[in-house]
Symmetry: C2
Subunit: 481 residues, 2 copies
């Protein structure tokens, strides 16, 4: 991709995302303020450029001198983060003039999202002033940029390790939630941008950027409204032609649209039309945060594949039956064990021949001399199966004398299969839901090992199976496109 | 209910479930065997009756003397658990003759579920022998009884505290899974029975029992096949007329049915017909373990209510928008804040009047002087809202300086509202998904406090909202029935 000519938008955003210095206007030594959080996040993420806190009161924040105004800041200023009240932002834009500021990111809110005429008017004056000063805006009413490789973050507890996922989000809170619920599954970002009211730089700019960004291999988006629908679809088509793109739309319904207006002043649209347009552009629409996370994990960590014959190991009887039902209801096939696998079983465990079926009931294997992982290896080698699910099955393991050993061994085997399989492969292990520290640690460590090995990890069999169904449909659509 | 005349089935099962002594045939000192697990479980759960391990080798299990045969066991024997190979069960039935044995529960499997003619034949001979000896059978191929109040369990890590839920399960493994994934949410049993192949006592007997059992206030069922469909529906109608009943059916599809046959030899049926019949009987059909757990928790801990106007507090902007969308897609209304709530806001936080909407965006409240819990109290008092969802919002709290204090305070407020509300009320707090022990402990303790206070706890906003939609539909159907 480095040889592909890049667009002006890409060049612009790339420059904005790599500032040589950052000003935090409204910086504060009070730990319960955003002006403290931004400074602390830059320090903790190891941002190498200049960090310049500004506050008329002066003083110190986390060992850094606080400048009383932008005028006092030495040298160039590339990027300004605003945590000051909305009434003061026009003065801030004036102060930025002639200082070489490329972008102003406004955490500052209380603009058009309040629905109030004077706030809407102020927002328009802000836009005019910024244009006049040659400064691009991110926001207002947004968290701004997360770029772990450059040491830029808006919160200290975002993922510090970079990853393959580029994310654009109209909601900053949604970015915390993604991290909160999925960092331990390996949801890590090349860059993520929260852009709020999208007054100047908007969803189309950021999407175009991620389409062209070589550090981004999967794109996720949360959008509530579109500034320019046609441009967005052009950027979406470009992005989807190069990498998987998953789009979550907020404000699909009347109630959601009303809420979106008060959140980011977005005008929401029709759900069915939206879904069709996203699919037509070659991207994948989803409608919940859980589905968004699952599909980002799937695209980031699973081998592509469009076949629909699924096999599962590692579940008990009831779970196996219910999984077969769910697969069939989702249009996946759960064929009986292929002949070559049957033959392996007949040789290794004749007692199970003709009885064991798919999904492979773990309780039937007990005492047979072959385990679920062995059967999974055979299923991986068989041409009769396209999709693999492996359930660690910790509820069963915890009832045995040495669950540590069982879970560690099963995890190792699954990691080995994941490393060599050419098929989409999902492993199921949920965070422990017991008030028992030892169990929590055991599960937590096993999950960490799976994720570090690059395995696609899901918190339930249901979610793994639903994701595989969407995943194979997506790739089938791509191969016929 | 104590004054209602009870059925013969109720009396029979009640006698079986309250044995004065229990024999474990095939007991073993090897911790990796079921014959050890059963003895250990009875000891750890504090079973007060006689526990008699049997094994031809004699010796000791966990300090108890092992008898070499049933003939050596002193006194009466009410209940026998079989962990011996299937080839030996006919001899065991013979040995039980004349010893007053009311029921024989067979963990022993490898009967009709293998699909093999000789095993099917053996199962039939077992049934005939048991009938001839006047002994009722539970199973074969099952885990048997969990009755915490009597100290009876088949595994040491099942919930020791009794609760309001009676559960019948064709799969024993499914009972572990329910416990594993939901004990920390308060999923506790009056009694639960895993009945496997249902050769003699079957789903209809146990359902009839739970319908009449005064210790059971909510009934859950996992069934793969029915021995007698007509009788099951009669029992279901009776149970549903007295208490909420949630039914999960395995083997709804061809693939699921094939798997069910190899699991418990069950013959599965048509999905749509099944759902309609369950609904017509006044019970609630579900199709995943997650839905089953959520609805049991909902019925066990929420006040009944059939209204469909939902309000939520405690989420950020993106989450609020998405929740409004999901509600509307599920047929729930998410009205703007009712006039009385608007008026309270205008008085307490004039700056937010006309901007704040429902769901209540937590980030808009920041710095306003009123918190989400205060707004929830107003929503609880308002006649314009029927259903309440409170999100603890720990992703946000973890970004603040003192998350312990925030989470504890929010939890306290939600507990207080739960104690006095007359509306269905769901609180959202998932198990921590960070590899960080302090966060895990903090979340774990908050969840424990919510559950101990009798609050209906859900692991995601999506699941809370889906459950409330099903819940209000269920109660609307009951009130019109």
């Amino acid at each position: 991709m480095t040889s592909t000519p890049v667009s002006d938008t890409y060049r612009l955003i790339e420059a904005v995302f790599q500032p040589a210095s950052i000003v935090v206007a409204g910086a504060s030594a009070n730990p319960d303020t955003p002006g403290y959080d931004y400074v602390r996040s830059l320090l903790e993420f190891g941002y190498k450029g200049g960090i310049y806190p500004i506050n008329p009161k002066g003083g110190e924040v986390l060992g850094l001198p606080v400048y009383r105004s932008l005028a006092e800041v030495p040298g160039t200023v590339d990027y300004v983060i605003s945590c000051i009240p909305s009434a003061a932002v026009l003065d801030l834009v004036s102060a930025c003039r002639g200082r070489g500021v490329k972008a102003l990111q406004l955490f500052t809110g209380r603009f058009s999202e309040t629905g109030r005429p004077e706030a809407i008017d102020l927002e328009q004056r802000l836009l005019a002033a910024a244009r006049d000063a040659g400064i691009r805006l991110i926001g207002p009413n947004c968290m701004g940029l997360l770029y772990p490789a450059e040491g830029i973050s808006f919160r200290t507890d975002m993922p510090k390790r970079p990853g393959p996922i580029g994310f654009l989000s109209q909601s900053g809170n949604l970015l915390f939630e993604l991290t909160h619920f999925a960092e331990s599954r390996g949801l890590r970002f090349s860059k993520a941008i929260s852009y709020g009211n999208a007054l100047d730089l908007n969803e189309s700019d950021f999407l175009q950027y991620f389409a062209e960004d070589s550090e981004t291999h999967v794109v996720g988006a949360y959008v509530e409204g579109l500034r320019d629908g046609r441009r967005f679809l052009v950027a979406l088509r470009l992005a989807a032609s190069r990498k998987p793109v998953v789009v979550l739309k907020g404000g699909r319904t009347a109630a959601g649209g009303r809420t979106a207006a008060s959140h980011t002043a977005a005008l929401a649209g029709e759900s069915a039309v939206w879904d069709a347009a996203v699919r037509q552009a070659g991207a994948l629409p989803v409608s919940t945060v859980e589905d968004l996370i699952d599909m980002l994990i799937a695209f980031a960590y699973m081998r592509p594949g469009s076949g629909r014959r699924l096999a599962m190991v590692g579940a008990g009887g009831g779970r196996s039956v219910l999984t077969a039902d769910l697969c069939e209801e989702l249009g996946l096939a759960v064929p009986p064990l292929p002949d070559d696998v049957e033959q392996n079983i007949a040789e290794s465990a004749p007692d199970l021949a003709g009885w064991l079926t798919n999904p492979v009931d773990q309780s039937i294997l007990a005492g047979s001399g072959i385990g679920g992982a062995r059967v999974l290896e055979w299923l991986d080698e068989s041409s009769g199966i396209d999709l693999l699910v492996a359930n660690v099955g910790e509820p069963w393991a915890f009832g045995r004398p040495d669950p540590e050993r069982i879970i560690a061994r099963v995890t190792d085997r699954f990691i080995a299969i994941a490393a060599r399989t050419k098929k989409p492969f999902a492993v199921v292990l949920a965070p422990s839901d017991y008030p028992d520290e030892q169990r929590w640690r055991l599960v937590s460590e096993a999950r960490e090992r799976l994720v570090e090995a690059g395995v696609a990890l899901f918190p339930s069999v249901e979610r793994a199976v639903r994701s595989l169904a969407r995943f194979s449909t997506y790739w089938a659509g791509r191969s016929s496109a």
